[in-house]
C-alpha cells in the first residue's frame, strides 16, 4: 500500500464535506424545503455573517465562562485527588471501580440541580462541566500513574530515588499520554455539559439559550449558525489538545508514526 500524502489526507475529507454542502443547497432549493425546517447552507452563512456580535457574546458565555472554567476546575480537582489517592493503595483499589462506573453515568443529568444550586449564570454551567469531566480525568490520571514499566520503576529504586523524584521524573511523564486521552474526552463533554445546562435556565445569552429561543421562533438559520459555531469550537478544542499532545508526548509510540 502506498502511503497517504498530506494532500490526500486533506483533499478527500474536505472534498466530501464540500460535496455534502453543495448537495444540501441543491436539494433545499430544488425541492423548495421550508427554511424553518432546513435552511440552505448559504442562508446559514448569511445568518452567521449578519449576527457576529451575538454569536461572539454567546460563545464567550458558553465556551469561555461555562465550558473552559468547568474544564480546568474538574481537571485540577481530578489531578489533585489522583496525586493524593495514589499514595494509598487501599483507596486506589476502592476508588478506581467507583470512578470508572461514575465515568459511565449520564452525569449531565445533574444540570438542573446545579442550576438550582448555583443560579442561572455561568457558575452552574461550570459546575456541571467540572463534575462531568472529573471522573474520566480521574480514571485516566490514576491509570496513567499506574502504567509504569516495572523495569523503569526498579531503576529508580536502585538510584534510591524519593517518592517525589519518582513522580517527577518517571511517573509524571509516563502518565502524560493518559492525561491527554482524558482531556480529549473531557473537551467534548465540556461543551455538551455547558450547552445542556443552559436548557435549564440561563441569562439571555449563551449558545444553549440561543438555540432554544430561536428554535421557538422557527429561526432555524440562527440555530444552525450556533451549531456551526459549536461544531467548530468542539473540533478546534480537540485539535488544540491533540496538537499539544503531539508536542509533549512526541516520544510515545502512538505519536511517532
Amino acid at each position: 500500500m502506498r502511503p497517504d500524502t498530506t494532500f490526500e489526507k486533506i483533499a478527500w475529507p474536505l472534498g466530501f464535506g464540500l460535496l455534502v454542502l453543495v448537495l444540501w443547497e441543491v436539494v433545499v432549493r430544488v425541492f423548495g424545503v421550508s427554511p424553518a425546517i432546513l435552511p440552505p447552507p448559504t442562508a446559514i452563512g448569511a445568518a452567521m455573517a449578519g449576527s457576529l456580535p451575538i454569536l461572539w457574546e454567546d460563545w464567550v458565555q458558553t465556551v469561555v465562562k461555562g465550558a473552559l472554567n468547568g474544564l480546568w476546575m474538574g481537571t485540577l480537582a481530578a489531578l489533585i485527588l489522583a496525586l493524593i489517592i495514589d499514595r494509598f493503595d487501599f483507596l486506589k483499589r476502592g476508588l478506581m471501580p467507583v470512578a470508572n462506573f461514575f465515568a459511565a453515568l449520564p452525569i449531565v443529568g445533574l444540570a438542573p440541580i446545579m442550576v438550582m444550586w448555583f443560579g442561572f449564570d455561568w457558575h452552574s454551567k461550570a459546575a456541571v462541566v467540572a463534575i462531568m469531566v472529573f471522573f474520566p480525568m480521574l480514571v485516566n490520571i490514576l491509570g496513567g500513574l499506574a502504567a509504569v514499566d516495572p523495569m523503569h520503576r526498579d531503576l529508580m529504586r536502585t538510584y534510591g530515588a524519593t517518592h517525589i523524584q519518582t513522580l517527577h521524573k518517571l511517573r509524571g511523564p509516563a502518565a502524560l499520554p493518559f492525561l491527554f486521552n482524558g482531556l480529549k474526552i473531557a473537551t467534548s463533554l465540556a461543551l455538551i455539559g455547558a450547552i445542556v445546562a443552559e436548557y435549564f435556565g440561563s441569562p439571555i445569552r449563551g449558545m444553549g439559550f440561543r438555540i432554544t429561543t430561536e428554535m421557538g421562533r422557527l429561526a432555524t438559520d440562527m440555530v444552525w449558525a450556533e451549531i456551526v459555531v459549536s461544531a467548530v469550537t468542539g473540533t478546534a478544542l480537540y485539535g488544540l489538545v491533540a496538537g499539544i499532545e503531539k508536542r509533549v508526548t512526541f516520544w510515545h509510540p502512538s505519536q511517532r508514526g
Binding site: 514499566d149 523503569h152 538510584y159 534510591g160 521524573k169 502524560l176
Partner: protein, 258 residues
C-alpha cells in the same frame, strides 16, 4: 585477606504466590571481593536474577544474612552503591540519550557542570560519542544497551549489577559488547555481578563463575577462572577456556539431574 564487598550467608527467599509458596533461593553462600567479575549462570527459574535483585535491595531475603560493605542491601542502595543494567535497555523514551544518562545524576543532586562532564565521559567509554542528542528509539538495540550501561556508570557506583544485559541482542553485537565490557572493567576496576545463560559469555567475562540450579534456586558450583585478565576474543578457542566451559556445563547438568 580483605573483607568481601558482598557477603551472603545462608540466604533464603520464599515468595508467597497464589499457587502457594515458591522457594526461590535456598541456602545461598557467596563472597564477592572488590574488583571481581562474577557471573551467575543457570537455567530459567534458578534464582540468578532473584539473587542479583537481593544484592541490589530490590527483593528482601526471608532468611540468612546479606551484607554489602557491611551495610544491608537497602542501606547500600540508599547510599547509591549500585549501577543496575536490566535485560532491556529501559531508557526513558521522553529523554534523549544524554538526558537518560543524566537521570541518576539529577536524582543524586550532582552539580550541573559536573553532570555534563560525566555524560561526555561515559558516552565516550561506551563508544557513543555524538549520540547524546538522539532519542532512544532512534538507536539500534545494541546502541540502546550501551547507553544503559553508560547510565549505570555515570554516577560511579562501586558495584555494577547486570541482569542478562545482552540477552536480547544478536551474537555478533553481543561479542563486540562483551569485549567492550571487559575493557571497561579493566579501566574502572569495578565489582561486577553479571547474570547470563550463555556458557561462553560467562567463561569469557568472569573471574568467578557461579553455577546455579532451580527448584529450589541454589548454588551448585563456584568456579574460579584461571584465565588471564587480558582476554582477546580468540581466547575462546584455547584448551583452558574449553575446559572451564566443560566444567560449567557439567555443573549445570548435575544441578539438573539432582
Amino acid at each position: 585477606m580483605k573483607k568481601p564487598v558482598i557477603d551472603a550467608q545462608n540466604v533464603d527467599l520464599t515468595f508467597q504466590t497464589n499457587d502457594g509458596p515458591v522457594h526461590a533461593l535456598k541456602d545461598v553462600n557467596l563472597q564477592i571481593n572488590k574488583g571481581d567479575f562474577v557471573s551467575f549462570i543457570g537455567p530459567s527459574g534458578c534464582g540468578k536474577t532473584t539473587f542479583l535483585r537481593c544484592i541490589a535491595g530490590l527483593e528482601t531475603p526471608t532468611g540468612g544474612s546479606l551484607t554489602v560493605n557491611g551495610l544491608t542491601p537497602e542501606e547500600a542502595r540508599k547510599s547509591r552503591s549500585y549501577g543496575y543494567v536490566f535485560q532491556a535497555a529501559g531508557l526513558y523514551p521522553w529523554r534523549t540519550i544524554a538526558g537518560n544518562i543524566k537521570l541518576p545524576l539529577e536524582i543524586m543532586d550532582f552539580p550541573k557542570a559536573e553532570m555534563d562532564k560525566r555524560v561526555e565521559k561515559v558516552l565516550d567509554l561506551v563508544d557513543l560519542k555524538g549520540f547524546g542528542k538522539k532519542y532512544p528509539w532512534q538507536l539500534s538495540g545494541g546502541m540502546q544497551q550501551r547507553a544503559s550501561i553508560a547510565r549505570a556508570l555515570a554516577f560511579d557506583a562501586e558495584i555494577l549489577l547486570m541482569d542478562e544485559p545482552f540477552g536480547a541482542l544478536d551474537e555478533i553485537v553481543r561479542d563486540k559488547l562483551n569485549e567492550e565490557l571487559l575493557k571497561l572493567w579493566a579501566a574502572t576496576n569495578k565489582t561486577i555481578g553479571f547474570v547470563t545463560h550463555s556458557i561462553p559469555e560467562a567463561v569469557y567475562l568472569s573471574t568467578k563463575i557461579v553455577v546455579m540450579s532451580p527448584r529450589p534456586g541454589r548454588i551448585t558450583d563456584v568456579i574460579e577462572s584461571p584465565l588471564p585478565k587480558e582476554r582477546p576474543l580468540d581466547i575462546r578457542d584455547t584448551p583452558e577456556f574449553i575446559e572451564i566451559a566443560h566444567r560449567v556445563r557439567d555443573g549445570l547438568r548435575a544441578g539438573h539431574e539432582a
